[in-house]
Amino acid sequence: MEDIAASSISKGCFFIPGNAKSSTIQASDHFDDCGVKPQLRWKMAQKIWNEIEDSISNLHIEIQEKLFNDLVQYIKLAQEKQYEKNDLSRGKRTEIPTAALITGVNMTDHVTLFSQLYTKIKEDVSSYVAILEAKNCSNMKSLMRALGDQLLNVCEDNEKDGTTNNDLLVYMKKKSTPLTISMLEKWYFKSIATKFLQTSPSKKRKLINEIPNPPIIVICQQLEAFSPKVLQEFILMCSFHAQRLPIVFVFGIATSWSDVSQRLLPHSAIVHLSVERFHAPSASSHLALIIDRILLTSQHPFKLSGKCFQLILDVFLCHDFSIANFLHTLKFCVMEHFYEQSASIACCASLQESIDMICNLKKNELKEFKKIESMKRHLASLKADKQKCIKDGTKFKALVAKLLEDLHQFHNFYFSALRSLHAFTATLPHYPMGKQIRELYCSCFRTELTKHDGFQQAFTILKVSSRDQLIERLESCLKPLQLSELSSDSSQDELHFSTACSRIKYLINSLKSIGENDEVEMNENTEDREEQLETVKYAYQLQERLRAKAEKKRVKKMTKYEKLREEALTFLRKFYEYHLRKVKSFPLYEVFYFDSSATIRRHIVAAPRLSIQTALSDPYQYLQVASLETAASGVIPSNAPDICVAYKLHNESGNIINLYDWLMAFQTVVTSQREDKENEHEESDDVDDITQARFIKAVSELQFLGFIKPTKKKTDHVQRLTWSHT
């Protein structure tokens, strides 16, 4: 029914109203039906995503707060200062206070930054705020229009009953009116006068004290996009009125102030600005903070596998620099994880919740857990007697619960250990473990720490570190451990956090104390020399003993500091190797980790061009029919889709193609199968209608896809648009 409705030769749009009364949609209705408790999983996905989003937005606010406060403070101060100066010197105010907000190249997120700044200024400083965008300001007139519109609209609320300047306002509001700055000035003073009149006398006094005249703040988003001429004129014009109109500029700058001052603005304009620079947090440092504080913690049960993590990081770093996009991809990962992985039902923040969830599962729901890849491997490795218990529902439940507990235990310490190791090795030359903690995370995810080259290298370097350096490093690696030590329960294990902490503390202390009496230790060591060589029966015994002795001597020769260093390093090595085991070695790690980077690649960073080219040149990839297998190797199967045949033939040609020849070639291929037909005998170049029709269709489809276009260079020729050399 719709098909008929939605195709017409005279219309391109068709509205089809919904037939239900209430047409609100619920995402939960469309969650996967199969798998374990889909509705519950959807709720969990929502909950987890909301938690992550909340903590990220808190972080945002935290980061931006300082910047905004500084800016607002500057604007307020600038205003007051100007007035003080005016009173004292009676000089004319010609400089416009300007805040140069250096934002970096992250374009897509800046719109939100500026709109937040806008609201902040409006609340805290003055209601006379306008954001100018380059696209509205191609010339002076449109710039004034954009500025005027915003200012007039802003203050409309204040002057709902203000009739005093009605005429002017109405005139100014007309779209066709060319606005001038003197008109704005007149309006501004009228508007503050009415405001002043409306307020009660007691407030009046207060107002006078606080802000004499609320400043007019003009925010220019992305200054580089403005035309220099317009900008210059605008600045000059404002500077003429600066003594009366309290204008303050905020310039959003993507490059740097020196670039703007040298390239964009001439000297004559810059002298009228008194500039103060502010730096917005750069996108990459912002992201690093998000990763550090939110993603690489045990706070949220959902985690990204090393590969996925690296992929979306690469999209960020090599592609768009947009935090918003990064978060969107992250959201996709969360949704996909809970949608596809039915075992994600156990992906809870605390162990108790996970175990409760497992206990409530029915038998067939538990089966899903057996399907998980890492679980399969684990089950296969179990001994025969234990394998029986898999069949038993309750025992299997216990097994799953045990494994989850292990994972939780592991996670409790994993990130602290990671941070500690990062702090320990971050200052080493050449960064064997990576500069950022995220690099460490990725490498720890996919390889065993013992096999990690960087790790070995780092410890080799550490072996020769001096005492001061070592103490410093030990202290820095202790910090992250101490943070999580408090939360963890005590245990007798040697590698447990609390014991490890005290051990490291002890090591630090002893390292500090040996400094003075190092020499004495040396002397003590010399005592043992008095050991005599016993008489031995065979030469090899002597040899052996001598060798042992030499070894002993070497060890003995170590200073006390060296011994301590050796001890510390072996301990730490063991400690990290235990706590930073490969995540993939844990059964059921899929419950918490989203590990399908292929999905991200397919849906977030897709390659549409490749899919078309592949489909055309090698249809076997999509249509698994045996006869098409040869298509990749230069043979065109006659039963390939017509468009593939035409495409393959067109690949053989130059930049223009003769349609007739093309058609002949097409016919040759298409008819190659039907050889036993009689028309072979005729051997005429006549093309039957069907072949011609198929050819026409294929060619027009290729044209639609953008491979060819008609050309007038030669009659009945088309031009090739891809991969032709000229």
Partner: protein, 576 residues
Amino acid sequence: MATVPIVYVANEDVGTLIKGIVAKKKRGNVRKSANQLAKAFAETKEDAYSLTSKPPKKKNEQNTGTKRSVQDESDKELLSVVGAVELFDENVSQCGTQVYSFKTPKRNAQMTKFAEESAMKVRMKQREKETEEECQSSQADNTNRKTRLSEKRIKAKHHLRGNVHSISTESESSDEKFSSSDEEIYAEQASNNETKCNKTSLRSSNRLQLPTGRELYFDAHDGEKESHSRQCKTSDRTLQKLKNPRMAPEELSRALLKHRDKSQKVESIQAIESAQKKLSETYRQCYKKWMFYLCNNFNILLHGLGSKKDLIHAFCSDKLAAQNKLVVNGFFPALSIKSILTHICDEIIKVPHTQNPEDQLEILQQYFGKESSSQESLFLVIHNIDGISLRNSRTQSILSHLAELPHVHIIASIDHINAALIWDQAKLSRFHWLWYDVTNYASYDEETSYEGSLLLTGAGPGMGSHGAALALSGLVHVARSLTSNARGVFRILTEHELEDNDDADTVKEDFSFTDLYQKCRELFLVNSELTLRAHLTEFLDHKLIQIRKGPDGGEYLSVPLDHSTLRDYLEQHETH
């Protein structure tokens, strides 16, 4: 004129010699044989391609997570070696040349040859099967005849080309025919082409000669001539050689229908069709997921070869029956963003719409931007968001602003290979696309129906002679709706236009308005200037004439159509 040294060599050395010559020829840009070039490219540039590559096994996309993790596991080792950028291309099992072919395009009958070879190979395979079944003698006859046939055909084609090169080729190939050591030549050809047909028995190949080896030699030299003109040579044959040079659309659809009926009996085509169906089936299984992501403020973008119209329609009737939706045919040439916005304003918000699309957008943003969950949603279904009329950046920017709204959901498709270029970073981040590859090989029936196809009568606008065909049908259409007097006026105009054309040397003069008026009065076609103007306005509206101001201030009329079209029109018109 370049001189060609003549050396006598043994047959088995021909191949190496040719290769050597071809490789030696490095003038300006390196000219190598097709295969060599492609290979060289593959080696040096493989990294570059792999950037855009992605896993070829699309089929498994819908499979369960287990399979995927196995796949990922295997890439893991790869990952530890490769750098950051190459993360995009794990699972690459194809090299770039297989997808993007870089055959040297300069050769003359390359396409025909390629087709012949390919067809030959297919036949050879068949024949191989036949040998097992049929008895030896009859089979030998059979192949003999067929070979002769194909040779004739090749020769015929070379004759037609009518240049020196083809004659020499022919003599070469006739030499070959009588040479006794055909086996070696064949073997050499086979290795040159890297075919999989090596198993073909030599006996049957005895009779088959493809002019590959030696032609390659001559082609290489032929290139010299070509490079002087820097022009790619194609044969001068035109479609007029066909018995039916331009098909009418009705004929086309009839022929295609016939083809469909016929192909239902052919097994090999059936296999492909069932594979296509299977593909579509798998895509249909993701409807639920699409809906889920649409609800979560992602927008779905479908790409891949094949019409996605049916797929989207099925999705709409399956999942969106209860929702308000606006179906937009992006491939429709006369579409504009304004019509889209006006539709939404009219049908859903029911506000009097304003003129400016930006203002309309503002109204929509207020309407759909509310956070409340009770707000009803709008689903924008856009077939071909990369359509010609939607391609400009203003349109896309407005669409992206719509896409951003929490209660507007978009499901769209792209087909053009460069479609992704219509979005910049800012727009992309507003669209929040989730890409889905839905390659299904369905034919683009409706999408191409608006497009001026090249070989049809009555096709779309702006394509040379084909556009003229459309213009003609338009002309006839308009003429039918006119009064006989108006037709007369137009005929005077056209005749004048054609007269001018006859003596091409003189500078063409446009018809001045006064002259026309004079002529029309003489023929009693109009009685006042006003009526003439009324007629002319009608023509103007249909863009059949152009009026421009002359240097003397008078108006001059011309017909901006092809002369052949006009002639056709006059001929047709006479018959009416």
